[in-house]
Each structure stands twice: as structure tokens, then as C-alpha cells.
């Protein structure tokens, strides 16, 4: 064993991209070093800024240790946006490479290209999509069911911090060592120790494990919250549809993360301890990895898509001024999708060699999912029918979703035919298909959600012009970037390829590149929109809290809502609870009496466990024994220490609740109601004139 192994494990200078770029200069290495440098500089810049503004205390007390579901939700979304930035840059780089690499090696080494698609996929799924939807759920769901918080606020904070730890590991891999080249699915034996002796797959294993533990805990928390914390009268069938999709997503999170954890731990045992789960010798069975991974992977895509379905249900009904058409059928369709999603995983490996009968059965099961999904699409269309539709940014994203998602669904049904799949398996046709599902079915939904709920969370609306600019970039960019890939796939272009030999790919690759650039412009427009809106926030303020004539309870609070959400827990008498209250003139009623409210105290346990988790993951990746022991002990120690703390809540006295609430009610009374035609004018201060 070498000197210093006990201290640094497998770490050495060669792990730094800067050193690699110095020793073997090439464009590819320079891009790697540049990315690493960017991460370091950005991290330093944040640190300096926090120190200069003396914001550490505020960050710690106000955010990191907060157990408020709203703040935790916002932090999740921040993680998602940071990671989205990275993954989008990688996507553009890949498109550039694939365009440049027609009959030419291009500018990225194959190794580097492999890292790009592996990190892009891993980040998009685990550290963009999952935090984004978990954040939106965290913010919105407790408000919608009339609760003060989730059932387990501390657990919520721990989930957040574990997710952050996983994301941090992926970011660290840009600066220390290299990430896996085995794709987001990390199939062995390629990711086994024999073919990937470096630390790449280890980074993948531990980042993903942290994230999947966090997701399991989030799912548990959300499910218990929905079961146990609903306001009086809020029966399951009075819940907004977003809560139903949250419930189903949570159930999927609870049950579907286990196979991933099992698969990645087995892979870890193979790599670290010489076990033979997935090796090609000594009785190992690599096909079981594919089986386990997709036992997780398929439900995962529904974890990603269902919350967006909920968002679209809210958005479409709100901006059509109608209640949701076919509420019950939407609920049953969601439940059916949730159950069916556990019965189709084999369609990801039709080509692995099982008999035609097995393939046929899973193919049919796959096509069956199209039925409940179709029900949903019709319900949304019928909600639009004869509505007084306002084409605001979130609505535009939703309508674009409807159209585009159907296209993706059709290609999905095509792929569900095993014989067809044999032809296009692992080609760019597949890449086009799943982006065609995930971008409308997830990303558009999350963007729509931020546009829709941002004013609730921050008290001012987002700039509509930039929202629309962004929308058109996303919409057009999507078609340009991904429709060519269907054609390329049919022409024989395989996924994960860094160099092409066929000159006729060139034009389509160019279109796809332009599309990717446009998509990136759409993302930049969102950032611009944020900047512009913050700058003009006074013009956009909606303190009363109901800028869109909303239907559900989250709109019955001030914007932003107080920490405890509701001065008095609302009593629910019908579906679309807040809409009913407005119609019956009992919204904004003055409560007769107020009571003290108990809210959870801040806790440092979440950040401590997150930090220790990141340390543990890093230590395992690099075989640094002492750090691993330390990280693990800190986690266990923190949990035990916390269990001795008995004062975990703090009382907000009734008087202060009263004061805050009455001030808001006075503001409501003093604010003129605005009709929908003035929705986007400065006169919209959040007091909606209910539509007839």
C-alpha cells in the first residue's frame, strides 16, 4: 500500500482536471478543466458574497436550519435550477460534438463525451427533476390540503440535505476525479471494477444512493401528510388533483426507490468487495441488474410525470375559469397509472433475450398505460372546452404539453411493440422519445408551476413578456432539437455515440444543435425573467395573495403566506374549496377567536446529516477509511443526540397571529378587486373578482 493511502485513499494530483489538462493538453481536457474551474469560481464567489453581505447568519437561521415546508420547497427548487444549468450546458456541448463529429472525431474525446451523457442523464433525473418536483410538492401540497406543515418537518429537512449532498458529490466530481462513463443507468459489467477501475461509477453509486434515500423519505413524508394532516372536511375526494398526483408519486417513491438502492449496493459490493452479483464470471448475472434497475426506472418516469399532471390540472382549470372536467376519472386514471407503472419495466430490455411471450405480455401492459393517460388528455381538453381561456405563460406551457406529450406518447406506443423495439432500441429514436415525454411531461410542468405559484411564494408576479419569450424558445427549440432525432434514429444513429461516419446525418444534426441552443435561450430567458421581475417587484406585488382567481386553499392566504400558513385551519365543504368560499362570500372572513400555534423549531440536524452524508459519499468514492467512519458516526450521533431533545416546538401566541392576520384582512378590504381582464396589470394586487 502506498504512503498516505490511509489519509487520502485513492486521491492524488492526477485527480484534478487542471493537472490533467496541463499534462495532456487538448480541447477536451481544457473544457473539463474549464468546467471544474467554473465550479470552483462559482463556489468561491458565493462564499465571498455571503461573507461580504454578512449573510451567513441569515442563511443559517432563515433557511438552512428552517423546517418550514415552504422554505424547504424553495431550497429544493434552487438546487434543481443550479443542476439544470449544468445539465443543459452539457446537453448543448453534446449536441455540438455530435454535429461536429460527422466524419470527424469532433472536439471531445470519446471518454469525455461519455462522461457528459452520464452526468447529463444522472443530473437531469436525480438532481434536476426529482428536487424540482419535490420542491414544488413541498411548497404547494400542505397549503392545498389546509395543513400547517408536513407531518415530519425534520425528516423533510434531512431529505433536502441528503439530496443536496448527492448533488454536491456530482458537482465535486467535476473538480476531483472523473464521473462515471457508464450512462445514467450504469449497466455492469461495464461499470464493474474490471472495465471501470476508476472512481467514476463510485461517484455515481453514492450520489444516486443519497438521492434515492432522500426520495424514499420524502415520499413517506408526503404520503403521511396527505393521509393525516388534511383540514377538517378535506376528504380525499375533495383534494385538488395536484394532491392526488402527489399521493401517487409518493407511493411510487416509497416502493420504487428500493430496487435502485438494492441494485446500486450490489454493484458497490461487486466493485469494493469482489462479490459476484453482476460480474460475467463465477455465477454473476448482469441481466439481473437491468431487471432491478428498471424495476425502479419505469416507476421513476411516473414519479417524474405525475406531479406535472397535477400542475397542469391546476393551471388548466384556473386559466380556463372552470372546474376540472372529470375530476373522478382523473383520480382513477392517476391511480391506474401508478399501479400499472409497476408492471411494464421489461420494455426497457426487450432485446435482452427472453422469450417472445414474455416480451409480448410486457408490450401489451405497456400499451395499456396509454388508456388512462388518454383519459387524462381528454379530461384536460374538455376542461378547456368553452372555457374563458387566458393565455398566460403557465397556460401556454400547459397547452404545449398537451400537444407535444401526445406525440411522445404515440412514439411510446410504437416502441412498446417488441419487434419494432428490436429495430430502434438504443438509437436516437429512443433518445427523442424519452425527451419527448420528459421535457413536456416534466420540465414544462415544473416551469408552469413556478410561473403559477411564484407570486404566492414571493409576493410578486413574474414578468409576463419574458415568460412568453421563454415559452416560444422552449416550444420551438424542443421541436427543432428532438424531431430530427427520430429521423436520425430511423436512419441508424445509435445513442451515446461520439462520432459518426455518415455525412447525411449532418443537416439533421445541425437542426438539432440549433434547437438545443434555442432551448438554452429559453432557459436563459427564465433567468432574465426572474431578474426583471425582482427589479420591478413593486409593480408586480400581489400581497392579498390571489392573483389568478385560484380555486384551491393555497390562494386563501397572503402572499407570501405566514409561517403557519393559516391563522385558522380552514373548514372545507366542497371540492375547489377556495373558489366555493369566494362564491359564497365567506372568503376572507374574520375568525371569531385565535389560538396559539405550535410550529417546529429550527434544527441543525438536517444540515449536519447532509454534510456528513456528502463526506461519507466522498470518502467511499475515494476509499478514505477514516472519513467514512467519521461521516457515518456523525450521522448516527446526530440522530441519537436529537432524540434526547424534548423541546422541539415553539408557540406563536394567539395575539401575534391575530395581529398579523387582521392586518392582512384589512389590506384585503382596502384592495380593489380586479377582473380577469386586468390580470396582468399593476392593478392586480392579488384580490380577484370571482368569475361567475
Amino acid at each position: 500500500m502506498e504512503d498516505g493511502y490511509w489519509l487520502l485513499g485513492r486521491l492524488d494530483w492526477q485527480a484534478l482536471p487542471f493537472v490533467r489538462a496541463w499534462r495532456h493538453p487538448s480541447v477536451s481536457e481544457w473544457i473539463g478543466a474549464g468546467a471544474g474551474g467554473l465550479v470552483v469560481i462559482a463556489a468561491l464567489a458565493v462564499l465571498v458574497m455571503l461573507t461580504r453581505r454578512k449573510a451567513w447568519r441569515r442563511l443559517w437561521d432563515g433557511w438552512l436550519t428552517s423546517l418550514d415546508h415552504k422554505k424547504i420547497g424553495i431550497m429544493y427548487v434552487v438546487i434543481a435550477l443550479v443542476m439544470l444549468t449544468r445539465a443543459l450546458i452539457e446537453a448543448v456541448l453534446m449536441r455540438m460534438q455530435q454535429f461536429a463529429a460527422v466524419g470527424d472525431p469532433g472536439f471531445l474525446s470519446p471518454e469525455h463525451f461519455s462522461q457528459l451523457f452520464s452526468t447529463h442523464g444522472t443530473v437531469m433525473i436525480f438532481f434536476m427533476a426529482m428536487p424540482f418536483l419535490t420542491g414544488i410538492i413541498n411548497y404547494v401540497m400542505p397549503l392545498q390540503i389546509g395543513a400547517r406543515d408536513v407531518s415530519f418537518p425534520l425528516l423533510n429537512s434531512i431529505s433536502l440535505m441528503l439530496t443536496a449532498a448527492g448533488a454536491a458529490l456530482v458537482m465535486i466530481s467535476l473538480v476531483v476525479g472523473q464521473f462515471s462513463t457508464g450512462g445514467w443507468s450504469a449497466y455492469p459489467p461495464y461499470t464493474g471494477i474490471q472495465f471501470s477501475p476508476g472512481v467514476g461509477p463510485d461517484y455515481w453509486i453514492w450520489a444516486v444512493t443519497l438521492s434515492s434515500i432522500a426520495s424514499t423519505l420524502s415520499g413517506l413524508n408526503f404520503a403521511v401528510t396527505i393521509y393525516k394532516e388534511r383540514a377538517p372536511g378535506m376528504t380525499l375526494f375533495r383534494m385538488p388533483l395536484f394532491c392526488w398526483t402527489t399521493l401517487c408519486t409518493s407511493i411510487l417513491m416509497i416502493f420504487a426507490m428500493a430496487p435502485l438502492t438494492v441494485a446500486s449496493l450490489m454493484l458497490a459490493l461487486d466493485r469494493y468487495a469482489g462479490f459476484h452479483f453482476f460480474t460475467a464470471e463465477a455465477g454473476g448475472n448482469l441481466m439481473n441488474y437491468a431487471n432491478l434497475f428498471w424495476l425502479f426506472g419505469h416507476p421513476e418516469v411516473y414519479i417524474l410525470i405525475l406531479p406535472a399532471f397535477g400542475v397542469y390540472s391546476s393551471v388548466i382549470s384556473t386559466y380556463s375559469g372552470k372546474t376540472l372536467y372529470g375530476y373522478k376519472s382523473l383520480v382513477y386514471a392517476t391511480l391506474a397509472i401508478a399501479v400499472l407503472s409497476f408492471t411494464v419495466w421489461l420494455h426497457h430490455f426487450f432485446t435482452m433475450g427472453q422469450t417472445a411471450n414474455v416480451n409480448a405480455i410486457f408490450g401489451i401492459a405497456t400499451m395499456l398505460i396509454g388508456v388512462p393517460t388518454g383519459v387524462k388528455v381528454y379530461d384536460w381538453l374538455l376542461t378547456l372546452l368553452r372555457g374563458r381561456i387566458r393565455f398566460t405563460a403557465p397556460m401556454l406551457f400547459s397547452i404545449m404539453f398537451l400537444v407535444t406529450f401526445v406525440v411522445g406518447g404515440i412514439t411510446g406506443v410504437i416502441l412498446a411493440n417488441p419487434p419494432v423495439d428490436f429495430v430502434v432500441h438504443n438509437s436516437l429514436f429512443l433518445v427523442a422519445h424519452f425527451h419527448n415525454m420528459l421535457i413536456p411531461g416534466l420540465l414544462f410542468g415544473m416551469i408552469a408551476a413556478t410561473q403559477h405559484w411564484f407570486p404566492k411564494a414571493f409576493g410578486f408576479r413574474l414578468d409576463e413578456t419574458w415568460g412568453k419569450i421563454s415559452f416560444w424558445c422552449w416550444a420551438v427549440g424542443f421541436y427543432l432539437a428532438f424531431m430530427p432525432l427520430y429521423a436520425l434514429g430511423l436512419m441508424g444513429a445509435m445513442r451515446r455515440t461520439s462520432e459518426w461516419l455518415r455525412p447525411d446525418y449532418s443537416p439533421l444534426m445541425l437542426i438539432a444543435l440549433l434547437g438545443a441552443l434555442l432551448l438554452f435561450a429559453g432557459f436563459v430567458s427564465l433567468l432574465v425573467q426572474l431578474g426583471v421581475s425582482v427589479r420591478h417587484r413593486d409593480r408586480y406585488r400581489v400581497p392579498v395573495g390571489d392573483p389568478w382567481d385560484g380555486h384551491s386553499l393555497e390562494w386563501a392566504t397572503s402572499a407570501p403566506p405566514p409561517e403557519y400558513n393559516f391563522a385558522l385551519i380552514p373548514r372545507v365543504e366542497a371540492r375547489d374549496a377556495f373558489r366555493q368560499m369566494k362564491r359564497r362570500g365567506i372568503a376572507y372572513a374574520r375568525p371569531e377567536a385565535y389560538t396559539d400555534i405550535a410550529m417546529p423549531k429550527n434544527s441543525a440536524v438536517g444540515p449536519i446529516i447532509g454534510l456528513a452524508g456528502a463526506g461519507l459519499g466522498f470518502a467511499l468514492t475515494w476509499h478514505i477509511g477514516w472519513l467514512a467512519v467519521l461521516g457515518f458516526s456523525v450521522i448516527v450521533g446526530a440522530v441519537i443526540a436529537r432524540s434526547f431533545v424534548r423541546e422541539t416546538e415553539r408557540l406563536i401566541p394567539a395575539a401575534s397571529v391575530r395581529e398579523h392576520h387582521e392586518r392582512w384582512l384589512d389590506a384585503v378590504a382596502a384592495t380593489p378587486r380586479v377582473p380577469r381582464v386586468q390580470e396582468l396589470c399593476p392593478s392586480n394586487r392579488g384580490h380577484a373578482e370571482p368569475m361567475a
Binding site: 407531518s151 415530519f152 424514499t216 413517506l220 413524508n221 404520503a223 403521511v224 393521509y227 393525516k228 394532516e229 416509497i254 416502493f255 426507490m257 428500493a258 430496487p259 438502492t261 438494492v262 450490489m266 459490493l269 461487486d270 468487495a273 469482489g274 462479490f275 459476484h276 452479483f277 460480474t279 464470471e281 463465477a282 455465477g283 454473476g284 448475472n285 439481473n288 432491478l292 424495476l295 441519537i640 432524540s643 434526547f644 424534548r646
Partner: protein
Amino acid sequence: MSAARYSYVGLNLREQDAQAEHGAQTLIFGFWIFLMADLVVFALLFATYAAMSVHGVADGPAPAELFSLKMPFIETLVLLLSSFTFGMASLALKYSAKRSSLAAWLLVTGVLGAVFVAMEISDFATYISEDQAPPQRSGFLSAYYLLVGTHGVHVVSGLAWLLVLLVQLAVLGRVREVKLRLLRLALFWHMLDVVWVCIFTFVYLFGASA
């Protein structure tokens, strides 16, 4: 609500007010969900084992050559007994005001759990040293050690938890938080028995009946 007598899984405390009842329900429901997720982990380990114990023997020993019934049988008795003693501890928690009987039953449970773990470790040591059957030998052995080892790790964490709760009983007394934790540990402990029933059946008895 419904006419349910049990408002949550496991032995129910005698709660006086609805607030406390709601708190207990929420905590225990959450923990029960966690156990269900854990069961899925075990289900997958079992499925993997079932396949690998047939296809993954390679040139290592087959289940029938490795397993005998004596140790698993004693281990089963020990674990079953510990479940019963935990049941007695739960009763003491619910009905008796004295700390001593509760602590005594918990201690007995802990000792039985420790005996179980010790026997399992000695099993593993024998397989590895005498039968040349370490987990690195074959896919079947990898799956065996992971499945049975995961159960063992669960028992060890249960023991650690038990220890912490004994300390808390001494330091904090029979406060509500500790009681609710004991209820949850009881569920955990009983659930490990359920998993063990599957292990002795599908691993040892299936192995020995070939």
C-alpha cells in the same frame, strides 16, 4: 372515525386525548410505511437469492452442500422467543407503571437478539473458514451473504436502538416520546421475525430439501 379498535399498527397505547392519539397515529403510520419500503428491499434480495442459488453456484458449493438445519433452527427459536419477550415488554409499557419490569423484558430481548447475532456471525465464520465459501466465491454465495447479512444488520441496528431507548428510559423516564419509540421498535422487531421466517424457509429449508 371508523369503529376500528386499533388506531394504528401494533399494540396501541391507552391514549386519553384525541391530540395525543393523532400524534401517535401519524408517527406509527410513517414508521409502518418505512417498514413496508424495507420489505420491498428484502423481497428483491429474496428474488435475487432465489435465482442465484440455482443459476449462480458456479464452482462453489451448492446450498444443499453448505447448509445444515441445526444452527438455523436454534437461531429461529432464539429470535421467536425474543419477539415474545418484546411483546411482554410492550405489555409492561402499556399497563405497568413500574420501570423495572419494562426494562427487564427489554434486556432479555436484547440478550436474545445478541445471541442470535453471535450465532449468525459464527455461522458465517464457519462457512468462510471451513467450507471455503466466502461471498467472493460465487453469485449464490454473494446473494446468500447479502440477504442474510442484511437481516443481521437490521437486528444489530435494532439492538443499538434498544440500547439507546434503555438509556432514555433511565434518563428521561417513561415520557411519551420514549413510549412511542418503543412502540415503533416493537414493530421493527416483529417485522424482522417475519423476514426471518422467510429466510429459514426459502434459504435453509429450501436449501436442505434439495
